[in-house]
């Protein structure tokens, strides 16, 4: 818990991921006078505007100018402030890419980026507003912590926890219509530590963001219909990734599938694959996300269904990987 904030996300049914973020941020701002907020004509869309309403002198709307947005935030961080910067994740990661990398990450500044409308959550808007490359891009930036909360409750926890990181943090959330995954705030959230949402020994499903709650549903179905024991890991922190949890999953289940609302190139799946490959252990593995193409236009739930990152798709992929063969190496002494 940062700085004694005791606020909890009641009413979360009515609060979207974005709204929760605005509320928590105002709460943090009360006890951290060095917090300032910035946006680029998306104060309302991203809900960082809530900070501006409460603390007009600490909020800056720089107009539709994302490069300037990140440069200005870097300058503010340089002189001792803690800027929270919000825009759509497509623009945070791509339009302002080099400003984020060179001004903020390279200089290791204490800046928090809340990237909204992540993945295909703004589905009908089309490719310009889909953000299916951002994790791949920002994961490559040294010094940057990358978090993808599963729902509104986890967003609240992430926003508080990011204050404990002395350096840049990228938190990627949705458009605000995401279903909820957690019942309450009563669970252990630590940056860099996966949350085990379902205990299992036959296969491990690793997910981040919206697919997490689908994975939980899928695990129940697979238990009931196939008698499968499915471990579900909510890998909310993409970087630094929880290597130990992945290695345990390799050892215990020998089958891993990843699901993300993101291109399969360079995101969660790739991060997990890196750890598996380096372990040298045999493991049936598949990463599911958007293939190497621009996503179809549509409502997020339809897009997720199309690319098999919803409950149905997860059930289908897990069944498929259960039938796959691979070579085993039973010697774990040196790895875990």
């Amino acid at each position: 818990m940062s700085g004694g904030v005791t606020w909890t996300v009641y009413d979360v049914d009515k609060l979207t991921q974005k709204e929760v973020y605005g509320v928590v941020l105002c709460d943090l701002a009360k006890i951290h006078p060095e917090i300032v907020g910035l946006s680029a004509d998306l104060a309302q869309s991203t809900k960082i505007g809530a900070l501006g309403e409460k603390y007009p002198d600490r909020f800056f709307n720089v107009g539709i100018a994302e490069q300037n947005l990140f440069g200005v935030a870097a300058g503010m961080a340089k002189v001792g402030l803690i800027p929270f910067v919000s825009t759509f994740s497509a623009f945070a990661s791509m339009r302002a890419c080099e400003f984020l990398r060179t001004d903020i990450c390279y200089q290791n500044l204490n800046c928090k980026i809340i990237a909204t409308h992540g993945g295909t959550s703004f589905g009908p808007a089309g490719t310009t507003h889909h953000s299916t490359e951002d994790l791949s891009i920002v994961r490559a930036f040294a010094n940057l912590t990358v978090i993808v909360p599963a729902d509104a409750i986890e967003t609240a926890k992430s926003v508080r926890a990011c204050m404990e990181v002395k350096g840049p943090v990228y938190i990627r959330i949705g458009r605000g219509f995401e279903p909820r995954c957690y019942e309450s705030e009563d669970y252990d959230f630590k940056i860099g530590k996966a949350v085990e949402l379902s205990v299992g020994t036959d296969v491990t499903v690793i997910a981040c963001g919206t697919p997490v709650q689908h994975a939980v549903q899928a695990a129940k179905i697979l238990q009931q219909e196939d008698g499968l024991s499915v471990r579900v890991l909510n890998m909310h922190t993409i970087k630094p990734i929880d290597e130990a949890a992945i290695l345990r999953a390799v050892q215990d289940t020998r089958r891993i599938v990843t699901f993300e609302d993101h291109n399969v190139i360079g995101g969660l799946g790739t991060a997990v694959a890196d750890v598996i490959a380096a372990s040298g252990k045999g493991c049936a593995f598949k990463k599911v996300g958007l293939p190497d193409e621009y996503a179809i236009v549509g409502y997020p739930e339809d897009i997720q269904n199309h690319y098999k990152i919803d409950t149905e798709g997860i059930v289908e992929t897990v069944r498929e990987i259960m039938g796959r063969d691979f070579e085993r190496d039973e010697d774990w002494e040196d790895e875990v």
């Binding site: 946006s39 680029a40 004509d41 998306l42 104060a43 309302q44 869309s45 505007g49 709307n61 720089v62 107009g63 539709i64 100018a65 490069q67 300037n68 497509a90 623009f91 339009r95 589905g123 009908p124 808007a125 089309g126 490719t127 310009t128 507003h129 179809i296 236009v297 549509g298 409502y299 339809d302 897009i303 199309h306």
Partner: protein, 278 residues
């Protein structure tokens, strides 16, 4: 290509139809950038029904004029204009924004016939238009390039990088429009990020600037006629407009940047358009 009173009458009637179609598509879509589209309707109508040299039967015709919607979130208006111009069956717009549709809020040039550039991320259109105008010169083509920008969009640095290049290369085959409705998403342009003195900025970047009423066909025609014959460099037509133009309850309301319409509101909106001028 002076404009006649009769032409003006026809264009106004067309614009009314287009505005009503925009209302319909917004209804079918369950929400769209309606205020944005109504703001630019008259500019789009005069371009697509009087000035642009094109052939809807040959969308790939090499010598056609090019049009770039730099404010790509006007996609719903753009799609309706293209449908009315005969590029595709207007019925297809019943799928606007729907899952699996070719039509997202921001039009994809690889999926929608007649779209010369896929836009939606602000600040990209003018640079591409500069490239097209330069390309025409290299290929010794006579086509012109028209580009429509949002005023808030001009916050983007890339617009000014392109503005500099357009003048540097003296692109007299490039004609810009700014849909100067004074609104962006979070509020008034002058409150969020001041643009004024706006015309002076373009002038300082070397553009010839004409400021007109963007809903007045005679003024639009005069400005375009001027721009087509101006030889010294690029021309920017700053078109003073009203966001939501034609639907009284949407006019100048930032809340109607994007919105959905109930069946009742669709009727009210159409009645308002019927009563409105132009």
């Amino acid at each position: 290509m002076a404009i006649t009173e009769q032409e003006i009458g026809e264009l106004k009637a067309r614009a009314k139809k287009i505005r009503k179609d925009i209302v319909d598509v917004t209804g079918w879509a369950g929400g769209a950038h309606i205020g944005v589209a109504l703001s630019m309707t008259d500019i789009m109508t005069i371009l697509y029904f009087k000035y642009l040299s094109l052939d809807p039967k040959r969308p790939d015709w090499d010598d056609r004029d090019r049009f770039v919607l730099s404010k790509g979130h006007g996609g719903v208006g753009y799609a309706v204009v293209l449908a009315n111009r005969g590029y595709f069956d207007p019925e297809l717009l019943k799928e606007f924004n729907h899952s699996g549709s070719a039509f997202g809020m921001h039009l994809d040039g690889n999926k929608v016939l007649g779209v010369d550039a896929s836009t939606g991320s602000l600040g990209h259109g003018l640079p591409m238009a500069v490239g097209m105008a330069l390309g025409a010169r290299v290929r010794k083509k006579a086509f012109r390039v028209y580009c429509l920008l949002g005023d808030g969009e001009c916050n983007e640095g890339s617009i000014w990088e392109a503005a500099m290049a357009a003048r540097h290369y003296n692109l007299n085959n490039l004609i810009g429009f700014i849909d100067r409705n004074h609104l962006m998403i979070d509020g008034l342009t002058e409150q969020i990020m001041r643009l004024e003195p706006f015309a002076d900025k373009w002038t300082a970047f070397g553009w010839k600037v004409k400021t007109i009423n963007g809903h007045d066909y005679a003024e639009l025609a005069e400005a375009i006629d001027f721009a087509q014959t101006y030889r010294e460099g690029p021309v920017m037509i700053i078109a003073e407009t009203i966001k939501g133009k034609g639907v009284d309850f949407m006019e100048n309301k930032v809340a109607w940047h994007y919105g959905g319409l109930s069946a009742d509101l669709i009727e009210t909106a159409k009645q308002s358009i019927e009563r409105s001028s132009p």
